[in-house]
């Protein structure tokens, strides 16, 4: 399994120094993504999902420090690379990024084509040497590539679209243009940070299906950050659930959704409108990363927690196959 993994995050911990003390933002994060696979990263706001994305892109928050762990991407530990090399060779090239808000991702004063070409100028097409000069011929090639990609994401009149400004496109179209730009660089891995939260349901479905089809066509692995298990069910092969900076459960999307093992996953899924006749929710908030609760970080909100949960930190243990969970009560039960 290890040899086929495209990305392996092992035991990753990260802390940030703040005025109030040291905050453990990520605490022993563990997951992997294989080639061509779509993996969901699920959790409430503030649980560290976006921080994981930033670490993978080499964009550490200020004052952040990696305490432990490795991030193996195609066999190379990204944490050992110099920031300059990550910027040049990884970010935007082999790891692409689709942001949450397509409205804020464009400069309103330039045409879409100009901004897309700028991206390709910076990152280059994969078959170009890193120091290719930006000649007319290269530009024309880039343009042709972009038109091809816009066609792939179902933008009508791709050549004309390049000449238009961002405000002339709807939110869904902008998100598709972003996806086209990112895929033009032919990344191996695509990080999508809640790419559909700003969109309508009908558009959301279009984008999700588009992502799924493109991932298949281009053989791109996708890490989908979301808080919606509906999105996971529709799109993802596997899923990793995070709570307060810790991985609490991983497994195939089907197994996790239909047989959730961690109490947090269970309650998160129960919040989904398909299931909850009576509205339950999860009372309380994600605990602060500064002075987090001892033991299991979820225990103050957990319904089945015992005294042991407040003492002992649970680690991920295999339930069956790829399904793993970090919960003391589960261990006790089995």
């Amino acid at each position: 399994m290890t040899d086929t993994a495209l990305l392996e995050v092992r035991d990753l911990s990260l802390s940030v120094k703040t005025d109030a003390g040291v905050a453990r933002i990520l605490d022993h994060i563990d997951f992997s993504i294989r080639r061509g696979e779509i993996v969901g990263l699920v959790g409430e706001s503030g649980c560290g999902k976006s921080t994981v994305v930033r670490v993978l892109l080499g964009l550490l928050p200020k004052g952040a420090q990696i305490d432990s762990g490795r991030i193996l991407f195609k066999g190379v530990d990204l944490l050992t690379l110099r920031p300059k090399d990550v910027a040049r060779r990884i970010r935007g090239r082999s790891i692409g990024f689709i942001p949450q808000d397509p409205y804020q991702s464009f400069n309103p004063t330039f045409t879409v084509g100009k901004q897309m070409l700028e991206v390709l100028r910076w990152s280059g097409l994969p078959d170009e040497a890193p120091d290719t000069r930006w000649t007319r011929a290269v530009q024309a090639r880039h343009r042709a590539k972009l038109i091809e990609m816009l066609e792939a994401v179902n933008i009508a009149d791709p050549a004309g679209a390049l000449e238009r400004y961002p405000h002339q496109f709807s939110g869904g179209q902008r998100q598709r243009i972003l996806i086209a730009t990112v895929l033009a660089c032919q990344p191996d891995l695509l990080l999508a940070d809640e790419p559909t939260t700003a969109l309508d349901v009908t558009t959301q479905m279009q984008i999700l299906h588009l992502l799924r089809d493109l991932a298949l066509d281009f053989g791109v692995a996708v890490m989908m950050v979301t808080h919606d298990f509906g999105v996971v069910a529709q799109l993802c092969d596997r899923v990793s659930v995070m709570y307060a900076g810790q991985t609490v459960e991983t497994g195939t999307a089907h197994a996790v959704i239909h047989q959730p093992a961690h109490p947090y996953t269970e309650r998160l899924i129960a919040c989904h409108p398909d299931l909850s006749e009576t509205i339950v929710g999860i009372p309380g908030q994600v605990s602060s990363p500064i002075n987090p609760p001892m033991g299991c970080r979820f225990h103050p909100r957990c319904l089945i927690a015992t005294d042991a949960c407040a003492d002992q930190r649970p680690v991920l243990r295999t339930l069956e196959g790829a399904h793993r969970v970090a919960c003391l009560m589960r261990e006790a039960a089995s």
């Binding site: 709807s170 309508d200 009908t202 959301q204 479905m205 069910a233 919040c271 299931l275 509205i279």
Partner: protein, 335 residues
Amino acid sequence: MTAPLLQVRNLAKTFGGTGGFFSRAQPLVSAIDNVSFDLHDGEVLGIVGESGCGKSTLAKLLLGLLRENDGSITLDGRQVSGLPPREARRLRSDVQYVHQDPGAALDPWWRVGNTLHETMRIHGISDAKERETRISEVLEAVGLSGDFVNRYPHELSGGQQRRIGLARTLALRPRIILLDEPTSGLDLSVQATVLRLMNDLRERYKLTYILISHDLSVVHRMCDRIAVMYLGRIVELGETEAVFGSPAHPYTKALIGSAPKLVRDDTSVELIQGDPPDATNIPSGCAFRSRCPLAIDSCAATKPELEEISASHRIACPPELRRLTNGPAASVSSL
């Protein structure tokens, strides 16, 4: 049945369409077109549709913040628009509005208590003691402790900001609350607690809600009746069970099919494509025909009006098409 609390008849609102001597002519946008519905005391009416379908314009018309071009809104038998400012304000304390983005709706420099006082002062509650009592009462009602009056908005979480937004409207003892996307931007877990709170408050204060949302699951759980809007017109109106149980308009079917479900379902793959057309250039006849999987030639000719298909269920789609849409959703997608 008793007379409806709020009656909306043939409401229409257009923007633009005029060019001044010095300014360029603005294209005419028909934001609300011939909208009629009743709101009964104590019910929850959901208004759903994609962005740009006129939901927010409708809200502004109901609040009296915009003036309609045609049609009428009557609250308890009294015309809402065209009132002198003083009376309009009194009326507005009957119909209150909870903003979509509660963070933006609270003044960052003001403590929560100050904001709550201000709202009541504007609406003529001059007795400070009375205001204090009401504040402690509504804070308790939304499940926040009394010391929240000393907090600043940035010290509150998204869910707490929503609660303050609700508390602010409740302090005025309104009869109707317009909730604009009450759960957008909230995690599902927080969303659930906010919805439950809204249900509790409705029972406690005997409120009537109009809930505007593009999230069908929220509407499904909260509402007694639903109006589905597309480009300024209501295309389907009926009791929640009827609309969700047997959606009749192709647009409603597509909307319901688009919500991500927990069970992967590949039969309903993409019922509709593309985005709604530009509001300055709405197709003739049925506005939805450009994206409708069933559209026939006659759809271009006449604008369909709402017609009854059962006692509590009306749709704006001609009978010829309705026969086609009677099957389950899967048969629609196979066309």
